[in-house]
Amino acid sequence: MTDYSKMSEDQFRQMVRDFISENLPPEMAARWKKMYHPYKPDVVWWTSKLNEVGWSVPGWPVEYGGPDWTIAQRHIFEEEVFLAGCPALSPQGLTLVGPVICHYGTPEQKDFHLPKIRSGEIMWAQGFSEPNAGSDLAALQCRAVRDGDEYVVNGQKIWTSEAHYSEWVFMLVRTSTEGKKQAGISFLLIDLDTPGITIRPIISIDGGHELNEVFFEDVRVPASNLVGEENKGWTYAKELLAEERTFSAEVKRHKGQLRRIKNIARETKIRGRPLIEDPHFQRRLAQLEIEVLAHEATLWRVVAEEEAGILGAAPTPSILKVRGTELVQRLGALMIEALEEAGLPYYAEHDYFLTEPADPPGRPDAYGVSSDFMFRRSLTIYGGSNEVQRNIIAGQLLRN
């Protein structure tokens, strides 16, 4: 295995770029630069490609196939693959449930699941939110009742990204109603082919299909699919989210947006002059680029502090999430403004994302921009709404 620890950041970055230019098909890159919802065939193909060199699971322990990158290297990798237009890997398996299985899974769970996650052979959905457990996740009610060596699951999950083309789902289920509401929650792995599961699409306001509702009716799940101990699922879920504390910063997306805004503003001619030459537009763009710089520097600070084993400013993940998501929306707003009427046509990633979307009329550089702008309203809502994040930040500050 390559020893990455000896590489400078520039060397590492160059290595990633070389890999991409040798392996990423240009038509796939072109497709991904306009798309914003996952397209399964590309995702699976690219996951397996990365797996060949051991790069599909940068966050995993070495003994389970992780490449032993520093946090900084992981960020460089993420940025490079994103900006080059590589297919977005599905995070549920690779970065969410994978590490939990690594840490808490039984030997059988590890043997069965980890290789299939790494290679992209099995894709995962995350079953956490419920209709009445959104911001207040611990209020979840989907029940799993032990019956012999099985759990019988009844209930509903919602906002389940990619469930319609995933093979498995990892769930938080209620196994006890005693004590605090956080106390009776367990972490369960379920094969989506199990009888009793119904998946219903949720179409989002961009016209796309990424989200789903999943209904469970007397779904019988082997007890051996329980991860860790019964009623301790809340702890694992929290660790799973904390593990990724710096990866919700969205910096790579901001950089992609800045590039795309500049491209659009070069192409948009207002009364014959490229918009990019308008002093007012330039300064608004400069202002946002400065915001991105400061945000990226915050990310770097946190990464350096993490690598040095220092906790740093305590509510860091919340800060990165709030600022990162809000910047995505502000950049999106400037981008649609730069498009004027050219951004108005509906760009339908319509066919449930199992086929490539059709191109609407108009400028190719406008494809998907306004749809993406619509869909990204969700950024400030999911994963703990920004209101919840601000509660967390203030709570930590005022306790200290």
Partner: protein, 353 residues
Amino acid sequence: MGMKVLPTEEQVMFRDAAARWVEQEAGSGADMAAQWGQFAELGWLMVAIPEDQGGLDGNVYDNAIIAEELGKGLVAAPYVGVAVTATQLLLALAPERAEAVASGEEIPLVAHVEAGQGGDPSWVETTATQAGDGWSLTGTKTAIIGAPLATSFLVSARTPDGKIGLFEVAADAAKVREYLLFDMRPAGDLVLDATPATLISSDALSAIEFALDCEHVVESAEAVGVMQTAFDLTKDYLNTRQQYGQLIGQFQALQHRLADMFIELEQARSVVLRGLDALVRNGPDRSAMAAACRVKVAQAGHFVGAQGIQLHGGIGVTEEYPVGHHFRQLIAFEMRHGGAGAQVERYASMMEL
């Protein structure tokens, strides 16, 4: 301060009728052509037409009152485009045509906007050349809302003498590239390639400017309607949805957001009244006020729509719940006529310095 604020009795009647219509018909699945017949029957297409031309002798205030109600229901039929923009243009340049529009018999749509115009009505790159007895036009007009319904297009084009003329192209003689806007309203681009056209006026710029100012303001009124519903949905949601064992409307941070949404909504509503006042007075500040109207309403709409979604949480980004539809239409409003930024620039160019 002599701005007209309160509706007349007649206007209240129009408003109530429009509200009833929206409630009964807006989601009924009836096609736009059928709805158009109803608009004509209800008299909505003739409110701003003088009595001696067969109209109801009202003005843009009446249009605005109807448009606001249609906005609440996200009605896609191009009421403002026909009953305001095209109607005002014809009243100025071919008043004898107004009656046929009012009756619903003709549905002309103004084809003026071009890519790169940046909200400046005088920037027209479509050219008109004389071809025998008639004219022929070349260029592309974009983002014509309701294009599939049009019976003809009223097209601005630059004539050989450098002036901006107004021409008419019959819909069946035109190449229209139809598409949906992202807010699901049908629209189209008019692609003119030496397309034959009839001359309406060889010097139409000031009439176009007036008609577009009317469009800015009445479309703003429509957007206020869109915003009002987004606000009402959000307010009701805060009074219904529970999290952490209480109504989410009891969380102060959400309360303050709702207060800010309401302030923006009220500012938008007010600036529309000011815009209408400027249209009726038709003084030197008319175009500046129309631009101000568009800017303020677009920005308020962006904020109210986005926060409406945010306060709904996940359900707000779904197709099956309405608040996101309102957001989309508000964003489409913001992006038209060069976008709100271009309208700020336009206001700045007219501002007293």
